[in-house]
Each structure stands twice: as C-alpha cells, then as structure tokens.
Subunit: 141 residues, 2 copies
Amino acid sequence: MLTKIDHIGIAVRTLEEALPFYTETLGLRCIDVRDVPQQGVKVAFIPIGDTELELLEPLGPDTPVGKFIENQGPGLHHVCFDTPEVAGQLTRLKECGMRMLDEVPKEGAVGMIGFMHPKSGLGVLWEFSTRFPGMPPSGER
Amino acid sequence: MLTKIDHIGIAVRTLEEALPFYTETLGLRCIDVRDVPQQGVKVAFIPIGDTELELLEPLGPDTPVGKFIENQGPGLHHVCFDTPEVAGQLTRLKECGMRMLDEVPKEGAVGMIGFMHPKSGLGVLWEFSTRFPGMPPSGER
C-alpha cells in the first residue's frame, strides 16, 4: 500500500545556490540540512502540504546525483512513496517483474528505503520508504 | 503563499502503456481521464495523499510534452504548487526577477495556471495553480 508522496527529490548544484530560491523567492521553509553520506548527498528538507521537497547537493562528482547533474543538469531527480512496509513492497514489485535497484531495504536519511530502476518506472526513478519508528511523517508540522 | 503540491506532472508515451503500471503494479486509482487541448495533452489524474500524479500523454509530436519525450524520453515533467491567488503569485515572481513562461494566468484543466521558465526554477519546470471555484482540491477524497 502506498500512503502518500513522502518527498520529491531535486538535484541541485549547491544548497548555497538553491536555498534562497526556495526560501526567499518561493517563501518556503527549510527545517533541516544534513549529510547523508550513504546516498552521497547533502540534503535540505523543505516541507509543503503533507510532503517535502528534498534538495540534493552531491557530495562529489562520482556520486549518483553528481553524475545525474553532469549528464542532464540540475532538476527533478526522483519521487518517493511512503509505505508502511517497504520490504514487502519491494518484494511485490520484483514479483510483478519490475527491475529493482534495491531488492531489500537499505538505510536512508529518515527511514528504510529502496529504489526501482527508471526503466521499469516508465522513465521515473521511484523510491519507496518506511520512516524509522518515532520519525514523524514528512510534511508541515 | 504556496499551500501544497497540487500535482506532479509525468510525461508518458501513451496512457494505454502507463496506466497499468500505476493502477495494477502500484495499486493506485485513476479517477479521471480527460483531453486538455490547450496544453496539448490527454491527462490521467491519480490522487495520492493530499496531491495527485498527472500522467500527460501528448496529443501530437509538436506539443510541448511531445517534444519533451522526443528529447529526453518519458519521465518527470513538472511540479505544480497550489496557491490561493495565482495572478499575484506570478506577478511577485516576475518582480523577483524570475523568467516566467506565463506572466498572467491562463486556463488549465482544473484551474487558472502559470509556468516559470526552468532556467529560473533551477532546472525544474514549476507550475502555479489556483483551482476553479467549486473544484475540489487535489488528493484523495
């Protein structure tokens, strides 16, 4: 079961360049900035409605987001669904014949996560996430 | 003021190919399919949480979404913010120095809308929308 959009991931060259656009120009609020070394990014969290924008600054050129920006420039990178049981979700998707980048969940910034290959996601990099126990849901709070 | 994400726009080659992935594989629900000739697309509306996925099938190769798919294939196309007053929002963004594709609102599928040029949106095509009076907000209902 997919509950809602946990977040929209947006590749940015630097948070220093990107944050003023989101906070000053668009008037949104950044609630946290944190390194997520296992994903090779520094992330800024911007809640809106019941979801969040996650701005992703690559920690180096050889990271997935660094290569994405080198290939096609900054922009929309992935969309993450919230699900109460990410492990079962990944298993079911594989059983449906989907090509999974992660067949079992791995640790993300705020929960256990897994990605589907964009070739199976009709050109979209879809992520699936179950937040850690005690971690509040994404969105305005 | 930006209230929430009204929808995420996703370019697809055909709805016939894309809808089974969203409804059968992901288990989401399509609540409406409709031609939006002024945008050159046929749109399928898929609510999730307080927002919606909008699947955009181009009505022809010379439409904006048709050209997008020809250039980079199907995938994430734009993100739309809900705002109570789209006209003022577009004016303020222009006054902030943003390059606007629409300086005044135009009629969309379910509201008055305007787009910002991706060069000003840090590589993202941002849309701003105020739903028509009486039109329910996007999302599960």
